[in-house]
């Protein structure tokens, strides 16, 4: 057989895309948008079903699918386990993951820095402190159907963001180092301030347990009402986020340039902080302090899809949901019957990734 001539095509054997201008190939690693979104939807459904099937009582994914599509119904015990124990928790972790990922995306865009996330910049710490005050002092109070705990979590998140943001800004620019340091200081302060509530807690200790599970980042089994309120709020925040995404692209050019392009920078910034804080509060009220999810997901999505926030929004939301469903399933099944808080698992997964990012971004992002 004659030796093969070296192929003129690219290694995949495909003829490279040619355009009149020559350099028209998409930058390496960027993937088609519609395909990615549909892939992620399929992946999310698959992950949810697999997670449903995982646990002490095994129900095969096939049985779940057949029950879903009107085939063989599940037994009563299986139904209770799936619908009242596993499903609420899985959906809660999906909501938490999506909320954290979107707020991470928004804060990274706002600060023009890939290392911002609700945990790093203290937003979730503020939410936890607000929620603690709610739990310990106003546990019976509610306003417009929202518990005081949830409202205070939101207020705490907004207030912290406002403080950190104003500390990090000078002359219309956000100093990255000041931002990270201010965020670190504020979130540490807030983290430890929660222990005061513990110390002065005279109650039976149930508050103490709630507090502890929040600080460790445990996604509990929420009531369906709580879950649906959170789901609706997530949907609302995601809808509000859509018009903000385009403005985040403009803000990437810097505040002064955005202003010169006719953007009302202050209003946009307030809108982003409020929406990001609402998302953080949603996540905190379901799962407490979960680090790094809001950092990793938008960052990886950006590597795959490029930095256009409009396209990143659905992709980060879906990937965040998938990511946390997987993480929470691991957290409850790897050391079964012992559960580890997903927040702690995330710290172990996310910590090394954050360090890797620090190392890598030294070169890629010069601000």
């Amino acid at each position: 057989m004659a030796p093969m001539a070296p192929a003129p095509e690219s290694p995949q054997g495909q003829v490279p895309e040619t355009h009149p201008y020559g350099e028209q190939l998409p930058p390496k690693g960027r993937v088609g948008f519609a395909m990615l979104v549909s892939l992620l939807v399929v992946l999310l459904v698959t992950v949810v079903v697999l997670s449903l099937a995982t646990g002490a009582v095994r129900v095969s994914p096939g049985a779940i699918f057949s029950a879903l599509f009107g085939g063989h119904p599940l037994t009563a015990t299986q139904q209770v386990i799936l619908l009242q124990i596993r499903l609420p928790r899985i959906l809660a972790s999906a909501v938490v993951g999506a909320a954290l990922a979107i707020s991470g995306l928004m804060f990274q865009g706002l600060f023009r820095n890939p290392m911002a996330d609700p945990y790093v910049i203290g937003s979730s710490g503020g939410a936890v402190l607000g929620a603690c005050i709610g739990i310990f002092f106003f546990s019976q109070l509610s306003l417009f159907g929202f518990s005081a705990t949830a409202l205070l979590a939101f207020a705490g998140s907004v207030a912290t963001m406002a403080v950190v943001y104003s500390l990090a800004r000078s002359n219309g620019r956000t100093n990255v180092i000041t931002l990270l340091l201010a965020g670190f200081a504020v979130s540490t302060m807030l983290g430890y301030s929660s222990y005061f509530f513990e110390a002065f807690d005279s109650g039976s200790g149930s508050n103490h347990l709630i507090l502890l599970s929040w600080l460790h980042g445990v996604i509990g089994i929420p009531r369906w009402t709580q879950l649906s309120v959170s789901g609706v709020l997530l949907l609302f925040a995601a809808l509000v986020a859509i018009p903000l995404m385009r403005r985040l692209n403009t803000l990437a050019l810097g505040d002064e340039y955005a202003h010169q392009l006719g953007l009302r920078v202050e209003y946009t910034r307030i809108g982003i902080i409020l929406t990001g804080s609402l998302l953080t509060a949603i996540a905190v009220s379901l799962g407490g302090l979960i680090s790094f999810a809001g950092l990793i997901v938008p960052h990886v999505a950006r590597l795959i899809l490029g930095p256009d926030h409009v396209r990143l929004l659905p992709v980060t939301a879906l990937s965040g949901a998938i990511f946390l469903v997987v993480a929470d399933t691991l957290a409850r099944s790897v050391f079964a019957p012992t559960e580890i808080p997903v927040g702690i698992l995330m710290a172990f997964l996310g910590g090394p990734f954050f360090l890797y990012l620090l190392r890598k971004t030294k070169r890629s992002y010069v601000l």
Partner: protein, 259 residues
Amino acid sequence: MTPLLSFRDVSFGYDDLDVIRSASFDLETGTCTALIGPNGAGKTTILKLAAGTLHSSSGSVLLNNELLHTLALRRVARTVALVPQQLDVPFQFTVREVVEQGRTPYLGFLRGPVREDRIAVDRALELADVSGLQRRIFNELSGGERQRVKIALGLAQQPKLLLLDEPTQNLDIGRQVELIDLLHFLRAEGITIFASIHDLQLVEGNFSSVLLLSPEMPLMNGTPEEILKPSLLEKAFNCPPRRHPMLLERIHRQEKRVG
């Protein structure tokens, strides 16, 4: 005919430091004006005042005979574009994604870019001759390419007045000539040009008028022949004329004419 842009006794200071003192000048439609002056004289400040990014502490800036600071931001952004000296873009935005931001003043509260905006972006890329770069990452471009992309970003605003802050800075002579050609081309397209220029050699023959800004003297406005006199430049830049090749050459030329 009313001037496109005019400064009337405009003063501006940062904190206690006066930068611009009572500056007055007009820019007529279709002109190509160079803004020259020593470092720190306030050239960037003048451009930012003209773009509405800064507000004068006294006096008035008029755009088409209307007070600039009373106009809606978006309306100003559709008339005036400022190409800054430096543009820092975090994240790996492509050239096209960067230039698309120039359409911001045309987008509605909820309405995103439509066909018309895409055409405007295509046109801006074409005018600045960077169509071939549109899928490249902005941060990975060379200085000359970046400069042209920044101009494309300004052109996407479809401005009547294009302000440029030191467009030839950090460019090699070949890229400088390309940039000056681009400015000629844009002027022919009907865009009024107002650029701060550090390299005085590029001013003559390329600009229809010159503004000389110096802390040593009041703002002067004239043709390149009127402004680029060694005696004037010596005073404005506080530079011994025989120590600089360009001034020396002009002195020789003058002496030849007289002799």
